[in-house]
Subunit: 294 residues, 4 copies
């Protein structure tokens, strides 16, 4: 297929490469030129304006947040200028409210719209092994299926309404953050009793919690190894905040998310802005009177 790709960050660049590998013709645009050039060397056609990426069968947007998507896509009138056969796939993790606004905007412009937020870190994206949460009208989803197949190992259909895929993504990240906080509290408690948290972690991941979430983050918390960051604290705070806002919009309080929000703020306020989001575990340790490394 002829596909545009907007947003070549840590996640997007690997995703765009997988489209090229799968034989698609890919036009890329990114705000900073360097990332575009890299993709150019790997076979992408580098375009000078995001609107040119919209001149395709489908265009995938992988920008970092609501305001960036708004600025690059909506404010520049790209939807109005797009041809009717286009399907726009938005893989960004955005707020549910903005996702609903995007639905209406695409509807008004008469072009296809599929939400396809992804689960997985940059290395998983590069390997084409993402879990992709997909929602949109069946015909629009069907048209971009070959692209999704190139990007992920598993496609999870969430339904006809695109914003529900964004909601599901936020719920997944909230579940992850809760698992991290739970281990943080449990391991801090263990350490105060001189119980090696490694033992506790092995029990958990060897029995009821034998899952990637615990196996990935458990060792990081045990070893207090929060760098290099795969997903930084402010991004974690953003996603928890978006979950809270989604709850606020429908009258659903999320008390665990409120505790998480407090702890992300505590962690960032203590200078850990550039560390992995699992560094909220330092908050539980600090509150328990454990100094780093102790």
């Amino acid at each position: 297929m002829d596909v545009g790709f907007i947003g070549l960050g840590h996640m997007g660049s690997g995703m765009a490469r997988n489209l090229i590998k799968a034989g698609h013709r890919v036009r890329v645009w990114n705000r900073s030129w360097a990332a575009s050039e890299d993709l150019g060397r790997d076979g992408a056609e580098v375009v000078a304006a995001p609107g040119e990426a919209f001149d395709a069968d489908a265009v995938i947007t992988m920008l970092s947040a609501d305001d960036v998507v708004r600025e690059v896509i909506l404010d520049q009138g790209l939807l109005a200028g797009a041809h009717r056969g286009l399907v726009h796939v938005v893989s960004s993790t955005i707020s549910v409210a903005f996702a609903q606004e995007l639905e209406r905007a695409h509807e008004a412009a008469g072009i296809g719209y599929v939400a396809a937020p992804v689960l997985g870190r940059p290395d998983v994206a590069a390997a084409g092994e993402l879990n992709i949460l997909v929602a949109g009208r069946p015909d629009a989803v069907a048209r971009v299926q070959p692209l999704l197949d190139a990007l992920g190992k598993r496609i999870w259909p969430i339904g006809d309404q695109p914003h529900l895929a964004n909601l599901a993504k936020l719920a997944c990240n909230f579940t992850l953050a809760s698992a991290i906080e739970t281990m943080a509290e449990a391991f801090a408690l263990a350490r105060r009793y001189d119980l090696d948290p490694q033992i506790l972690m092995e029990v958990l991941t060897g029995s009821l919690f034998a899952a990637p979430a615990y196996k990935t983050y458990g060792p990081m918390i045990v070893e207090q190894r929060y760098e290099p960051a795969n997903f930084k604290l402010p991004l974690g705070l953003k996603d928890v905040r978006l979950a809270l806002e989604a709850g606020e919009a429908v009258g659903a309080p999320l008390p665990f998310a409120s505790v998480l929000r407090d702890n992300f703020i505590d962690a960032i306020g203590h200078g850990d802005r550039d560390k992995d989001w699992s560094a909220i575990a330092a908050v539980a340790a600090r509150r328990a009177g454990l100094e780093a490394g102790r």
Copy 2:
């Protein structure tokens, strides 16, 4: 081996049967006579007083809580009357403070003491498939190893200090309760957006959370199926309270556990005392304005 067994509740009766099946000579005592008789029919020797169960190579106690263990074991002077070669295995989920008191009492009485709390529901106990957290002096643990092998599929050595096994058990149950609450909040949020929580549950358990904890409790919460109870709400509240008390004793705040405590109280106060502890999910649903069954 010649082994005594005290406490033939839902868990204990299955455990005692597995000891008989493994060829051990088992003397049982229980407060209500009916359970003892059942075991008698299955090959156990029924004794009239708990002290007689202590006349063995080892004795296993599987009573429900601190005060029951105190009443049956300590208050009746069983430790003082026991012979020096005995090893006492306490599998009850008890407080860390009481576990420390038991350590001192056994030390003073000069008899062996092993803490061996278990992970698993009654059906798992009956199948001899428990995960057992074991802590105690190596020689004491070694002597009861054949018994532990008959009870569990996996033995997790936690160290030399018995109370750390109890701490680890509480940490496991806290982690479970947190996973339940997290799903409760996430699924209530999903339902308010008319996103079928079944879809969200499948994404979680099919990707980052492919673990027994989520696969067991996820469907119960999605289907709001909290009966029959495998582990009732007041028992969940008890374990969360014990985790909080363990934290208080060493200066470790556990904010997630505090939220859990509030929600267990809310759930029990709303008449769900006899439901499975996953019924705390009804609290998140109720607070989100979702009535049961909606």
Copy 3:
């Protein structure tokens, strides 16, 4: 003085009338015409566009929220068009971040800027008895002092930086909301023990808590009398949210505010949107198993 007044809601209309009574020449503008006409009958000059209210010695803005202030003032370029001698007094309860933006905008436009958020309900505003938190450059504050004197019984100088008055206002409302929630929990607890909360309220307001906050809201919670609303639940949620955002911006977690936010959402989600913000007390009662009126 020659003074413009923008925003004639429940608070603003009483404030504008007090300026007229004090002998000032007042030009008013409001989005809906009816409120302007009322003021016109009381001696105000009604103008057709907000820009005309800026043609004065000073202009007071009492609009409801950030986005309204942005739309009416900033987006229409009123600052750029204003004469240099003008002082703009913003009495709205706005976010700290937006207050900082307004500071910069007025600085850039070269006109005076004073933040003067108020404490008090509409009847207090009508009586000219408000507490006014005032911050801004001393010369700017000095010029509008006669206006402030006409509006409030007490002026609290907060300093030179206008946004600190907004921060202080949010802190006051957070303190109020906390007092309400505290009584809500305490009275729900009392009711579950069949202790008349009226007795508890009298003890509190007759001893350590003999202050307007408790004397105003205590009886409302005891009597579960949440209508008519002086300050509606969504406004309370807004202010708590603004306090949380102010904390997030500087790395200060506010766990009480997080609990309040959850409870405001719970209350609004249960249909109490048009009730007084003290109706968050219904959340504590409901969670304690108390039905309304019981």
Copy 4:
């Protein structure tokens, strides 16, 4: 009257002196002899055993906690040995559950029982200016009225059931702790914006919060002056814990109390055990990235 007094700590010694000053004949007993001797010099009759203090028209107990009252009064059989005309006034801050047990024990022994917990610090007790929460059967209360009049400036009748006075006392201390935490969060937020918390405190205590609770604790938090302690952190934690337990017993969650409990634990764990309970304010400051004294 002929009155016994048991428990001559910081509060009790001042209270006993006021009974002497009022002309009553006072027999005192205390676990450590020194305090008794002091009272002896001031006119009390020092007795050698608590039972001798029960040989009176009324006896007042001012011991520190449930377990001490149990040990000194119940375990030694003092109720069984008391004469029928006696009224026992318990002024200790005890748990609601234990208060209910005491009610039953006095009923069974056929002697009068009045709960009379007090509000006020040692200097207030010494001045006879306490607020006293009184509950019990009217005839029993009437008989000890002269004693209560000598101890407090104001007597608050709470009803016929003694344990409700204890519940009310816990509710008062919970309300106080909440006010402290609220100021702690608000002032930490202010400090992060370089707003002098003194200014904010003056606004609060000069307007809606012009009450002793805020005027007493506000300056302590602003000045971070937590020593000397009038009421130490572990006592604050005890009372919050008792409020939580009272809620748990009737199914009433108290989310603010849960946050308070976490913060008291945090504070005590950070070495502030001997500081005033207002030192939980150091937790909010620390979490906001403010070091002591900054």
